[in-house]
Symmetry: C2
């Protein structure tokens, strides 16, 4: 029986296969775990929370996480008011109205927007009052007919169309009732929340302080971008990308710089990060190799929650906690680090803030060629999404090494293949996370 057949019949992932064969000397990952299990363990281990709130001007709350349940202190609208320019009437008067059967009503007054409710008139059957958008409804009136459904005649109007009771009327409290919660703690403030809070005359809002997350890169070969590129050195592109990802998530990124391949230096910088921020991202030095330095340094500071994910790219991803704060051990390769950020950092940021994760734009399309998924692995395939004959096509990119940053800039999407699928066949409909818009002719 050939080794490949043994492997096939056992149906095990390679590292387990190696363990079965007793290849104990290999420095492979002992236990790769599923992304979902990793996240569940990590969430349990991270007990640190962002709870401190700061009060900001309403407009400055945009995009921040609301820190309190905000209740309406009044009804909105505060009284029944007209939603259109027209004539306040009693709906029952015009139930039979039509262009062929206009109903005449007597015009008894006019209510301007901004009128004081105390001066509001009362109408009786057969009467109408001209009314402006936003103006308080006359007493006894229960609907407004729009200007375009009315013909003005001497001393009155002819209504050409029936209206339901409360048609074109904004009723007191229909938008927000006094005492109702308008925005909950943990909600990211969107423009319509700004509008809703403004309508309640709320000027300031308590929002969570921004999480501070430190980023450290490791590797003797790395230099910072902007420094002189000497032979044999590599510019660190992963750290600026991660700092930009943190900015997009509303965090304050702290730059811990680059540590050389030295456990003491890595340890000391992570320690600084833990003291000054809510969590630390460390990249590089996490692969199981000659330089297994980051896990070594991290073990001195806390407990490793997992190391090694059934994920591609990003297998050497790991995580630890120190005094309840997260330490993310991401790949030094930019693509694997970006996916590690998506898979671990975003959910843990939400967990620490007790808020939801912002959804990513998604699109469905037809895959242009077969892609294969290793058993029990979650794959993040970089794809190019484009339109062809009004169809959305999803083309998996050929160059997809975890160091190939251009797979994220040339491509515009990520196809996530879940653990239980063996892959997709050409022509399958797949759902893709859009990283960049699809270029369409008319939008250029």
């Amino acid at each position: 029986m050939s080794l490949n057949l043994v492997k096939k019949s056992l149906s095990l992932p390679e590292h387990e296969f190696n363990e079965v064969l007793g290849l104990g000397r290999m420095k492979g990952f002992k236990t790769l775990i599923k992304v979902s299990e990793a996240l569940e363990r990590f969430r349990k281990a991270v007990v640190h929370r962002i709870e401190e709130a700061e009060e900001v001007e309403l407009m400055d709350a945009l995009g921040r996480i609301c820190a309190e349940d905000v209740k309406a202190l009044m009804d909105v609208p505060p009284y029944d008011r007209s939603a259109v320019d027209g004539y306040a009437i009693i709906a029952e008067d015009v139930f039979s109205a039509s262009p062929m059967n206009p109903i005449k009503l007597k015009l008894v007054g006019r209510i301007l927007a901004g009128s004081t409710p105390s001066t509001i008139p009362r109408i009786e059957r057969g009467e109408a009052v001209e009314i402006m958008t936003g103006a308080p409804m006359p007493l006894n009136a229960n609907a407004v007919v729009m200007v375009e459904d009315v013909k003005v005649v001497e001393n009155g109007i002819e209504v050409l169309k029936p209206v339901h009771p409360y048609r074109n009327v904004s009723r007191r409290g229909e938008d927000f009732k006094r005492g109702e919660i308008v925005i909950k703690r943990g909600v990211r403030v969107k423009p319509w929340h700004i509008g809703a809070l403004a309508s309640l005359n709320i000027r300031k809002l308590k929002v969570l302080r921004r999480p501070r997350i430190s980023v450290l890169s490791t590797g003797d070969e790395l230099i910072e971008f902007g420094e002189e590129l000497k032979p044999g050195k590599i510019i660190n592109s992963t750290k600026p990308m991660l700092m930009a990802l943190l900015l997009e998530e509303g965090c304050v990124p702290l730059d811990l710089g680059i540590a050389g391949d030295d456990v003491d230096e890595i340890h000391s910088k992570i320690l600084t990060g833990l003291r000054e921020s809510d969590g630390v991202i460390v990249t590089g030095g996490t692969s199981v190799g000659v330089k297994d330095l980051v896990p070594e340094a991290v073990k001195r500071l806390g407990e490793i929650v997992f190391h090694g994910l059934r994920m591609r790219p990003g297998k050497p991803t790991g995580a630890a906690v120190s005094a309840g704060k997260p330490i993310f051990m991401l790949s030094g390769f930019p693509v694997a680090a970006a996916i590690g950020f998506e898979v671990l950092v975003r959910p843990i940021l939400a967990h620490m803030q007790r808020c939801t994760i912002e959804p990513r734009p998604k699109i469905r399309g037809i895959i242009t060629r077969r892609v294969v998924n290793p058993p029990n692995t979650r794959s993040y395939v970089r794809v190019r999404v484009f339109e062809s004959d009004d169809k959305v096509m999803v083309e998996p990119l050929r160059l997809t090494g975890s160091g190939i940053l251009s797979s994220l800039t040339r491509g515009n999407g990520l196809l996530i293949i879940p653990e239980e699928l063996e892959g997709y066949d050409e022509g399958d409909i797949v759902e893709v996370e859009l990283l960049q818009p699809i270029w369409r002719g008319d939008e250029k």
Copy 2:
């Protein structure tokens, strides 16, 4: 034949029906046009462009629109380098390697990351060099075996697994080739662009200046939020919401305040907006009613491109141009204004900057009840998206007046029904734009 039957047999929208009946006195919209046609006309009319660039530090370019095609001035990687910690070898030496048939290679050296390519050794058949992630490949070597696939023995290594040529090697220029365009003009800068530009040692980027857009609300009844709410007055919630939407689009919003119901005042404020910014949004006073003031004021400044859309809500939406700059006439009602912003303002902002429109998050789900679409109309139905038994459900909200801002804060999605559909039946699969995340138990 009843009027309803006439109407039905003619299959006309109401305003055309009215025109057919010769109800000429009605002040209804003369010509409602389709959203797509409106946008096409508007794009043609808006010739004003944002072209001025400003140079910013790379990290500050995040989210801005790139103002130039940026070319790589070098290959990335600049030389063939190892992508892992392991042993550089000649792949052909180990094609038959397996745990049962280990291939012994002689260890002839070690290359650290950061080594200078000029000191790089050369290997021959049967030899291997220990190599670190990122280190330049020895001459003649064409693959790297990972540490975990090797057993260290006296004077050498035993390779337990075959490798393809160039396995675990990052080849010169495989990420970016010298002269290649890395980011195009018009692309919104994402974290991976920051990474890619950093890898090319680019410190600064030219980005388009932010568009300046003025916002004016009209209506005697309106007061600004934060002011004392006197009886009969309404707090202007639409303007702060629009300014927040502009901020989200990367614009600088200019607050023109509130104009009373006075054509001269409206005219004068729009004129200020046109002088000081790239376009003006005016809300309210656009319905065809007693106070058709905004179109009157706008006519003095330029040409009305359209007024009245086959859209719900937002029928009274209009647009004009003055010296090629856009004037958006949106509803004073917050929900209709938000949808007018989505339908008109976002595409025209992209048009003026010659960039693409950022995609919105979307989700597919099962609609919980029937919704009906008027003929030839595009409807924006506010919905609540939730999970039930692992299914995504889409519940159209009952309260959906264009003034009901809570339909956007209580709900979390927009269902867009296109013109050609009569609606959806209960149980239909629909696609929804997600305005806010779905709350899931485990993310709380």
